[in-house]
Symmetry: C2
Subunit: 294 residues, 2 copies
């Protein structure tokens, strides 16, 4: 049976922003969801979401009315909020309701499901769509955001396979290419290619912020600086949350980055330009080969 | 007198690439240069430059025929080559010929002028147009590259003011906004906003290159990684040259970056999310304020 065949009667979306909002916009357009209920702490954001028809009904809290009818509860809030949200959901979930998330760290998501929704665990699916942006909020929601993007599901092993396939199929329906990874591997991968670049970009801008001549320096910053630091304009709360949730992987990468800087410092100290050339060349080839695959 | 009033009869461009090629294309279009002679070690590049009319005549070496008639010799090669080029130019320069460069490090440029063209020093102008790109070669030369870009002249103090004003006016004519900075200050500024981002981007990609799971990681790299590492696709020889020429400033910045990473490691270790939020917020505000000024 095609898991997307029967539309969901109700999706309850907790956190009506770029990721969750864009997902439900596409699902409704495709006829895969009949009604979307939005829950958000920010009333103004909820009003925008209603105006733009991202959601059909809006609530400020998790309650029987907002959650009781949901076939799928999608949690699209900062990752640190998932435990409290799971606890709050527990009394209101229908027995067969699916619960899924979109967070950037998956060990923490699975831990939250296990601890706070243990009886419901077979219906809890940990997922991560790869479609970041420095835009956020209901106004950032857009059709087609996930077209050609990747979706990673990290099974915890206790899922009903129907539920897992259903979530996967919904993301595929909105255009994403689905992958499955072990949660620990997922967190290591995204620490390396996403969380660490953010951390380093924030660190680099902070070095200029801390420098007495930083404001003079910035007068002459150009396109290299602009692209290199784009992700330092990301939402500080979201990124503090992600980095803290994935801190073990990140601390390992910070150690690696320190060693790279030590290597470079040694090369600069020795004046060995051929070694510096080889180092840069290896990095360039790695990056160019990656780019060719995109 | 308007220093751009009389067109230059001949510019000799040494290194026919993105920067020098784009500059002379605009100067000829504006009627500010009558003839451009190109010198380049790469014969194929010279042929492209002739075909595209970036240069009118092409030579593979510095000699009486290529340099003797020049009113302006513009050196647009990797910064480490300037000393040898100055030595080679010396026997062929007309007494009143201007010599200028486009290099990203200016203490090294002034040292080369002082050491290898001492009698000609009043006609040597150290300049740096801020218009990087990861494209290079004569085929990358384009009209309008410098429109709205910055040009920094770093006076050594022995210039004839006419020559300095003339060079400045030529860059302004092609659309650049001209600044003057002390050479040491220039090198500190560009270490911070350009050379260090390149070094860190190379270092970050090198960390993935060195990691046993690096290739798996790259499969999931997305837009954040793409922009953060764009400058790691820069030309390794050019960047090894620049970083080595500016290594004192860079080593100071590497020390600063190590301290930022230590701070972040400490915050992650302590689990103090509020401190991480403040750190990210300070960086974001710095970057957003900069972006608003662009």
């Amino acid at each position: 049976m095609n898991p997307t065949a029967a539309p969901l009667k109700q999706i309850t979306l907790i956190g009506v922003g770029l990721i969750g909002g864009s997902f439900v916009l596409d699902l409704k357009r495709l006829g895969l969801a009949e009604k979307v209920v939005g829950i958000d702490l920010n009333r103004e954001n909820l009003e925008r979401a209603l105006e733009r028809r991202v959601v059909d009904e809006a609530f400020a809290e998790i309650c029987e009315k907002s959650v009781g009818g949901a076939d799928l509860v999608l949690v699209a809030t900062p990752v640190s909020t998932l435990p409290a949200i799971c606890r709050a959901l527990k009394p209101f979930l229908k027995a067969d309701a699916l619960v899924s998330d979109v967070g950037s760290t998956k060990l923490s998501a699975i831990a939250a499901f296990r601890e706070h929704l243990p009886e419901h665990l077979p219906n809890c699916i940990a997922a991560h769509p790869i479609a970041g942006s420095d835009r956020h909020g209901a106004l950032a929601a857009q059709f087609g955001l996930f077209q050609g993007k990747k979706l990673v599901i990290t099974p915890h092993g206790a899922e009903h396979s129907d539920g897992l396939a259903r979530i996967e199929a919904l993301w595929q329906a909105v255009g994403a290419q689905a992958f499955r990874l072990d949660a620990a591997e997922h967190d290591a991968v995204f620490a390396a290619v996403s969380h660490m670049p953010h951390l380093v970009a924030f660190a680099f801008v902070h070095e200029i912020f801390d420098h007495p001549d930083g404001q003079t320096y910035l007068k002459f910053a150009a396109s290299g600086f602009r692209d290199f630091t784009r992700i330092a304009s990301g939402h500080p709360a979201i990124w503090a949350d992600i980095c803290m949730a994935n801190r073990d992987s990140l601390r390992g990468l910070i150690g690696g980055m320190r060693r790279q800087l030590d290597t470079l410092d040694g090369i600069l100290d020795s004046g060995d330009k051929a070694a510096l050339y080889r180092y840069f060349e290896e990095a360039k080839q790695t990056r160019d080969a990656w780019l060719k695959e995109q």
